[in-house]
Amino acid sequence: MPTVSRPVRGATVEVRGLTKRFGSLTAIDDLSFTVEPGRVTGFLGPNGAGKTTTLRILLDLASATSGTCSIGGRRYRDIPEPARQVGAVLEATNFHPSRRARAHLEMLAIESGIEISRIDPMLELVGLTADARRKVGGYSLGMRQRLQLAGALLGDPGVLILDEPSNGLDPQGIAWLRDLLRHLAAEGRTVLVSSHVLAEMAQTVDDVVIVSRGRLRVQGPLSLLTSRSRSSMRVRTPERDRLAAVAHDAGLAPRPVGEDVLFVDGATPETLGPLIASNGIVVYELVQVNQDLESLFLELTTSMTARRPPVEMAAR
């Protein structure tokens, strides 16, 4: 990172009982969560989960039907010099295509009361110095994301709110963004970053707030979510039904898949191996299958047909 680590005062982001309705559609339903300084918090959920709407309400671009949002205890509109406190990246289309990149940042600096001298370091930080005089209309999506990020960092804010910032970035860009966000959080900033791809965020975030259909599903440290992901054993056996019965009697969760394949959820080689041996069951193949975070994410966000209470994870 081109910047030198130094302490920055982040601020707590709080969302309390937030509800947003568009006519008969409830986009956000009584959503509450807290984002702490010094950590990268992933705001995760599938498309249409209400992430962007929540961030827009948080930033006073949209109104809430009920509930409150605050940053450092204040509504966004009540924060003096907000661009110096909060940097936001909402979408990669907030540009006039005929305006040059540097002029875009100059415009932001003027309207935010930020020194023009901040522009060049930010262009360098996001790797756009060589393209600063080009019109934004000729930028790729990834370059626009970088420019948005430069704009968000202009005021050296303690809080960063980023909506799908990795959209359009190539793998190197995603790795760069990951390092940048980790670095910014390590400086003490509050970093709230939304994404619909948990796997992409897994190496970046400390905490997760997972929403689906506008409701909170999970909130807490990523490490506890990781510990919830369970392993399964995949067994190919001509005695599928007998093994299923034995596993069931042993308190495991067998799932027949195909003619001679059985998944045993929650089992490990150490628990299932002796069970097979002691019952003299013929086995052709025995494989451990770990449920990855993405599968858990899908499970958490797609099984929402019935209203279920959110999963509150233990405090750090």
């Binding site: 827009r56 509109r77 907000p82 907030n94 305006r99 100059e106 415009m107 003027i110 309207e111 935010s112």
Partner: protein
């Protein structure tokens, strides 16, 4: 609501760094050039000839050669100042920098007015650069023309400013850029003449408070039509006084902006 100088600076910077605002200046110069040319087309006894204007009316037409540019392009600049933000979603960045929307709108009003004033000054510079040499070449009196600066120039610049505010009000109400421009031009060039014809001439109703009629009033009655500007004095005679015309334009401009603020500008930015 407070006027925030840096927001006005930012809005003027936006004008400077987008081609639309400069296209408006170019069109103003073009229309002013056409206005200058037509003010030299005079007629007598059915014969049209190119000669220097000598009458008060003719000289006013030359000094007010930017009138058409004012009524066409000043509202368009106002429309562009707000609808460009919606079209390219720059409003999101603007409101993140300064979330108090009334302040943003007031800065846009002031910046649009200042850019329109710049267009008006450019128009008069064009008259100086093209109209005066032409007047001299045709044997006209520059001193006589300069006598018309007082009656025409302040009012014309005021017209640019107030029509830009009126256009910004339309843009705030409409939000869509193309629709805003079409509506602004349609109201000025199509609807108002129809309303004047139907309600003014036929029904004898007072149509002088309409935007272009009010503009004519503050611009010294320079909207004369036809060779020699024969109708100018007559037109001016029945128009509002300049200050009533100014009040009418302020009400049109601020009124549409206020209505736009309460009906559309406060809506969610999606």
């Amino acid at each position: 609501m407070t006027f925030t100088p840096r927001l006005v600076r930012a809005e003027l910077f936006k004008f400077r760094t987008t081609p639309g605002a400069w296209v408006c200046v170019a069109v103003v110069l073009l229309l002013t050039g056409l206005g200058i040319t037509t003010s030299f087309i005079n007629g007598s006894n059915g014969v049209v000839h190119f000669s220097a204007p000598t009458t008060v009316v003719g000289l006013r037409r030359l000094m007010g050669a930017g009138y058409t540019a004012a009524i066409v392009m000043a509202p368009v600049v106002g429309v562009l100042s707000i609808t460009t933000e919606y079209r390219h979603r720059v409003l999101t960045s603007t409101l993140l920098a300064h979330p108090r929307r009334a302040d943003v709108l007031s800065a846009k009003v002031l910046a649009s007015a200042l850019w329109a004033l710049f267009m008006g000054v450019a128009s008069f510079a064009m008259i100086g650069a093209m109209g005066i040499p032409l007047l001299v070449a045709e044997g006209g009196s520059v001193a006589a023309l300069l006598h018309q600066v007082g009656p025409v120039l302040p009012g014309m610049l005021a017209a640019y400013v107030l029509l830009a505010v009126y256009g910004m009000g339309i843009g705030t109400l409409v939000r869509n850029q193309i629709a805003g421009v079409i509506i602004a031009l349609g109201l000025t060039l199509v609807l108002e003449p129809i309303v004047v014809a139907i309600f003014g001439s036929l029904a004898h109703m007072d149509v002088n408070f309409l935007p272009t009629r009010a503009t004519e009033a503050i611009a010294g009655g320079v909207a004369a039509r036809g060779p020699g500007g024969a109708s100018a004095v007559t037109t001016a005679h029945v128009l509002l006084s300049w200050w009533l015309g100014a009040i009418a334009l302020v009400i049109w401009g601020v009124g549409t902006a206020v209505v736009g603020y309460f009906t559309t500008f406060r809506r969610d930015i999606t």
